[in-house]
Symmetry: C2
Subunit: 403 residues, 2 copies
């Protein structure tokens, strides 16, 4: 694969990577760079849906496995709002396992011994790809909120441009959950001839009013934090409190009421009786606070603003004359659409709308709604039937593709 | 009625009341006091569930109609988290109609020409009843978070103490939605002989993990605001941004996904196309921001902390040996339990649990689940069938009571 020379554009690599990450990288003979591979896009300026143009674009990604001689075994994994490219290796900041090791790895559904897997930090992200914390070439300082507003389509177009640059003509499979699923849908609509199979999971073809509302709460929490400083907080403490509140609010939407009840109920945290104070009396409080405080160590608040905005803007039908089916007309891509019964963020009805649109153009589509109380986050969790279903779909598609 | 002399204990009355409020008060021959009637509790010290004691307690309330000679026509209306005593008159701060004028007033279900209606600002509230913004007699300064943590039971016990003082022996009806419904349940359990009929609406007998989680997000948003200043913000700007975020997050839980979709969908705010920025592009964003910014004008952030905490602590069964039915053993109260199909904050299953407990002790109980897409807030809104149902129940109970 052809690769542009690495050029450090900013400070995102300055934090020392976690020992778990370093060990995994050394075992693979790779550099210590916490961003994985970092490449400069050659096809610049990169024009955004908004009309704005980026004169310099940096893309950070991870790969696993080997591209075969026919270049027919590439799988693109699309990450969600707070995900990143570290899908199947320890995280460089937290040291925790990759976010989708249940799905991607040797012998897994996305088998890295069979497929060449690539996962790209999205445009606007904060782990190496150009985004608000990276350097604005016009000023030499971080973009902050001078960074242009981006869309899911922009993320997908950047991924396609990177694959062009890497000499990967098409994809055996594009897979992702939540915002990753939005990218899958946009890929299938935008580049139908480049997508052999598509797996949009726990997702939607358009953000609902309730989805937008929750994101708006998160953004307001960040922007209400004086340490946000109008987005120009780099070098300072940053809006940790605001970002933590945003994460807490969002996290509730990733879980189901039944799942929360089963896991936490009204159980108390390290005490036998109510303390009659504002400390975390209940385990659910302590859990949420932990979710908030650990998140701020690994995520950039401005990226949170931009990526939630991109999700809110997502309305695939609007790009195709208001009719979702138009997005998939004449498609030959094989689809497997997956939803979870207890996902109230992107409930099954949203997946059904996608399936109806695909049916309307006689696309090849499997649809599975899985019974679980784990909520939206089910796609990241140990739901055995989920992996069984996808193993069958991916295996059959690979056979058809002759991999 | 006997009434303790009014004694201004703090600054809560200093804001000039809204002209609408003043006009309504003058028409009724009442004072300008924005708190309605304010009384000092005689039965002090008032001991709380936590064990703490309040040496001075002030109670603010509103009444409508006339107590009959038999003292048999009193109705207690219990307000919800962000409600207050101004149930059927213009609000002293916003000037908007009373929060339950659809339910309470001349000719309404709770007919103020037939019943004597009383609505009491809850303990810990911020419109005249003793709470964190009122003066701590030990210091002469506002309590702030030195105010003791309170419970729903404490609110109810204070209401009962006030009714004792006013010479109202029992209640023809106790009615309320949401946290008001919790008070109704506690009243019926704690003082069964004083409650002829009870109407808990859109409520629960115990706060769930998800309920606690949403409240915790709101509290963290408030406490993350530097202007919260550890709760000692009186005289300063106060944590308006944090309280606004808390309100926005909570407000989403008061509406249903379907209702939001019907009302807002993805409609844009005062524009024809996406603006590619962080202003409120969507109507739902503008609406939520408005909800947040108006709320902070009328509500105290510390009260929000204390009252949400009281709700989180609510678990009626826990006070009765872990079995909810025990709370209602031998009750002769007539119950009407109401839930709404689209209420996902306190879904119908929570009302069913209450009804099952009442059935287990052979209580007189009607249960109605009403079909609506208006979510939790349905009890405050124009849902005609809701008022029809309660008109029937209350009328029959009044006939039985001989009113």
């Amino acid at each position: 694969m052809k690769q542009a020379p690495f050029r450090a554009m900013n400070a995102s690599a300055q934090q020392a990577p976690h020992p778990n990450y370093l060990e995994a990288r050394r075992l693979s003979g790779l550099s210590d760079d916490p961003r994985g591979t970092v490449t400069r896009l050659e096809a610049v300026p990169f024009r955004l849906v908004s009309g704005a143009e980026l004169d310099e674009v940096q893309v950070a990604y991870q790969t696993y496995g080997t591209l075969n001689a026919a270049r027919s075994n590439a799988v693109l994994v699309c990450h969600a709002l707070t995900g990143d490219q570290h899908v199947a290796n320890p995280h460089p900041i937290t040291g925790k396992p990759g976010w989708w090791e249940l799905m991607v790895g040797p012998g897994q559904v996305i088998d890295t011994e069979r497929y060449f897997v690539i996962c790209i930090n999205v445009l606007g992200g904060c782990l190496g790809t150009t985004g608000p914390k990276e350097t604005n070439p016009a000023t030499g300082r971080p973009w902050g909120i001078d960074f242009p507003v981006i869309t899911v389509a922009d993320m997908v177009r950047l991924q396609a441009a990177l694959l062009d640059q890497l000499g990967i003509p098409d994809l055996f499979c594009v897979i992702g959950g939540s915002m990753g699923g939005m990218q899958v849908l946009d890929w299938a609509a935008r580049y139908p001839e480049r997508v052999f199979s598509a797996i949009p999971i726990a997702t939607t073809a358009r953000h609902s009013a309730q989805n937008i509302a929750f994101h708006e709460v998160g953004r307001q929490a960040i922007m209400a934090d004086p340490n946000w400083a109008g987005g120009a907080y780099y070098g300072g403490p940053g809006p940790k409190a605001g970002l933590s509140v945003a994460r807490m609010a969002a996290h509730i939407t990733y879980l189901s009421e039944a799942g929360l009840h089963a896991k936490f109920g009204r159980k108390l945290q390290d005490r036998d009786a109510l303390a009659f104070g504002f400390d975390a009396d209940f385990q659910i409080e302590s859990y949420l606070r932990h979710q908030g405080s650990t998140f701020v160590e690994r995520f950039d608040a401005n990226s949170y603003l931009y990526i939630t905005r991109a999700m809110d803007y997502f309305d695939l039908a609007a790009d195709y004359g208001g009719l979702l089916a138009n997005a998939f007309r004449d498609t030959r891509t094989r689809f497997c659409v997956v939803s979870f019964t207890s996902d109230w963020l992107y409930p099954t009805a949203e997946s059904r709308a996608i399936v109806h649109a695909l049916n309307a153009v006689a696309a090849q589509v499997s649809f599975v709604e899985l019974e679980t109380d784990k909520g939206h986050d089910s796609f990241l969790l140990d739901v055995p039937e989920f992996y069984d279903v996808l193993r069958g779909f991916v295996g059959a598609a690979a056979e058809r593709r002759g991999i």
